[in-house]
Amino acid sequence: MPVEIKLPQLGESIHEGTIARWLKKPGDRVEKYEPLAEITTDKVNVEMPSPIGGRLVEVLVAEGETRQVGAPIALIETAVAEGPAGSSEAPVTTPVPAAAPVSSAASAPSAGAVAPPPRTAAGVRLSPLVRKLAEEHRIPAHVLDALPGTGAGGRLTKDDLLRYIADRAAGAPAPPADRSPSPAVPTAAVAPGTGDEVMKLSPVRRAIAQRMAQSKREIPHAYGVIEVDMHAVVTWREAHKDAWRRDGVALTYTAFFIRAACEALRANPVVNSAWSEEGVVLRRAINIGVGIAVDEGLVVPVIRGADQLSLSGVARALDDLTRRARAGRLTLDDIQGGTFTLTNPGVFGSIWSMPIVVPGQAAILATDAIVKRAVVRDDAIAIRPVMHLGLSFDHRIFDGAVAMRFLNHMKEWFETFRDGR
């Protein structure tokens, strides 16, 4: 009996994937864990290793086609020795991508994860009743993973699920973490006119659309902007960037921004948090997501434990992530677990940005372009490199005073910057 190979769950909130390329063709012999296909998702591109060894009988999904997680994509006739036991083992249904781009850093500390740890993963239990209800109401695992639980330790209770089911039946918006595309697709009817062209949504575009819409739908955004004199930073950077480059480190402004943000987050922990109905989840770890423009749009790799890194450590981590993002070689872990996000539209010349909070976080920081301006210093007019720092934040979690305290902490850090910080 050929074993059905299913599209693996490649990460939290990933619900579909596109077969970019089959690496084997029907009739080919496939070793266990040998790359079978290239799969692109809204977050990452991976080589999917075959969960079992055998002969590829048939591919069920053509290249370029997209399927839901768990959908059958191929049939593999197993070797006799592996028998039916192999077919029922977990790897068939939820293979762990083992190819180079994805496998190396498999374990993320859950404390720093944006979403609660996946409930459907081993170690986190759904009660028998919740399991049954989920099955009866066809609630996919990723939704269960993401639904807010009100039970002890965030456990998803019967009532939580029944509430979700009732809401869903009533046509209410999907829960925060239900990242399936359907509810997020704009409902206003847009009919293409004569000569118009419909640009197909790439997975990345679709994911961005959905997440941004979700954020705007659920998070009451508020904004705070502050002006920072970047003189000390600019001066110091100019003096050191060549030396650093010789050491192989690109000393970007973003590295400074991240360092400053970490300091401000430490001083204002509520900014490094997430909203839940039970209360504000203060994140112990500071994992900074950094928006990086790529061809298809935007990816947000995460620097874990950023507050533990020195300026050069941050710079190196950032350099590495940027390179890999542009090469399409980010791993799942690279893009998961952010607790705070920094976006830098300043590189495109923006001087006043109001970004959208990433769902599951409390705030996002926009760093705008550093522009020379005439400013008043000690009652005299001076020419200074000035930057706007903008914070978009979830007003449910904290108020403007906190936002300004946070921004002022950064401002202070920048303006008093000196060697050795």
Partner: protein
């Protein structure tokens, strides 16, 4: 309607049955002239005579063993074990004999006896190790024996009458604290409460607490306490431990999705373990939380000193705390 105490209901049940059926006899220590150490057979001696209200020698195996013989030859004995703690010398007669008469004779002989045993402890009981034990788990384990533990005055009367009329041996457990503690209006007309069905004493939706006997009292009070916190506890009175009303148990668990069992007997292998096992086997997919037990400590029995006795017992505080924990799960 007449307002009766639990003890009055016990007494009245026996009295009515002895009046109704001359085959009914009571036997036990001090049941005659004295009318029982708790007064359950008060006045019987004068009314029914020495032969039907039999003061036995101080020997529990005798009480049960002779009752078995009497039942074999046409009588309907109600055997009183003065304190449940003293049933153990009769263990063999209860377990190896009474409970097996019907099975081992392939239905040819029966054993229609009722064994009444005042049980249980608590601060008010001052019973110490040998006047406060709970024995239900030991005997409910035994096939062929019915075990009944009424809580309400109404049930005490109706269930005892059913026990007396039952064709099989019934161990009828009366919690000593209930004897004089509770009063209830009970119909004057004859009624029976069938052995078997449980009763929902307090409907609720958050979780179900199962209890029986005196522990119902504590459990209902705990339920009232947590109700103020928005925890709506369904309290089920098991009433009959064997045969057990699994339908009501499972029905309630399917409704509330969470269950706990409160019993005064020692926790380990206590009756709650069986209830939990039944729920796990039959209603696993209805569970939205672990099945919890609140029970007596695993020490030999309830110690005498008030402080120690209080430490042994499942209290309203302990029960309410468990309700909160389960509700929050």
């Amino acid at each position: 309607m007449a307002e009766l105490r639990y003890l009055d209901a016990i007494r009245l049940a026996m009295y009515e049955e002895m009046r109704r059926d001359e085959r009914v006899v009571v036997l036990g220590e001090d049941v005659g002239i004295k009318g029982g150490v708790f007064g359950a057979t008060d006045g019987f001696y004068a009314e029914f005579g020495e032969a039907r209200v039999l003061d036995t020698p101080l020997a529990e195996s005798l009480i049960v063993g002779t009752a078995i013989g009497m039942a074999a030859n046409g009588l309907v004995p109600i055997a009183e074990i003065q304190f449940a703690d003293f049933i153990h010398p009769a263990f063999n007669q209860v377990v190896s004999e009474a409970a097996r008469i019907r099975y081992r004779s392939n239905g040819a002989f029966g054993c229609p006896i009722t064994i009444r045993a005042p049980y249980g402890g608590g601060v008010e009981v001052h019973g110490g190790l040998y006047h406060s034990q709970s024995i239900e788990a030991t005997f409910a384990h035994v096939p062929g024996l019915k075990v009944v533990t009424p809580y309400t005055v109404y049930d005490a009367k109706g269930l005892l009458k059913s026990a007396i009329r039952d064709p099989d041996p019934v161990l009828f457990l009366e919690h000593k604290r209930l004897y004089r503690a509770i009063r209830e209006d009970v119909p004057d007309d004859e009624y029976l409460v069938p052995i078997g069905p449980a009763a929902v004493r307090r409907p609720g939706s958050t979780l179900t607490a199962f209890a029986y006997g005196q522990m119902l009292h504590e459990t209902l009070r705990a339920a009232e306490r947590v109700a103020a916190e928005g925890i709506d506890v369904e309290v089920v009175d098991l009433r009959t431990l064997k045969p057990l009303d699994t339908e009501t148990i499972l029905g309630s668990v399917r409704k509330t999705s969470k269950a706990m069992i409160v019993y005064e007997d020692n926790r380990f292998l206590g009756f709650g373990a069986e209830v939990a096992a039944i729920i796990a086997e039959e209603a696993f997919d209805a569970l939205d939380g672990p099945v919890l037990r609140v029970a007596g400590l695993d020490v030999p029995a309830v110690p005498y000193a008030d402080t120690l006795a209080a430490a042994f017992m499942p209290t309203v505080d302990r029960i309410a705390e468990t309700m909160r924990r389960l509700a929050a799960y």
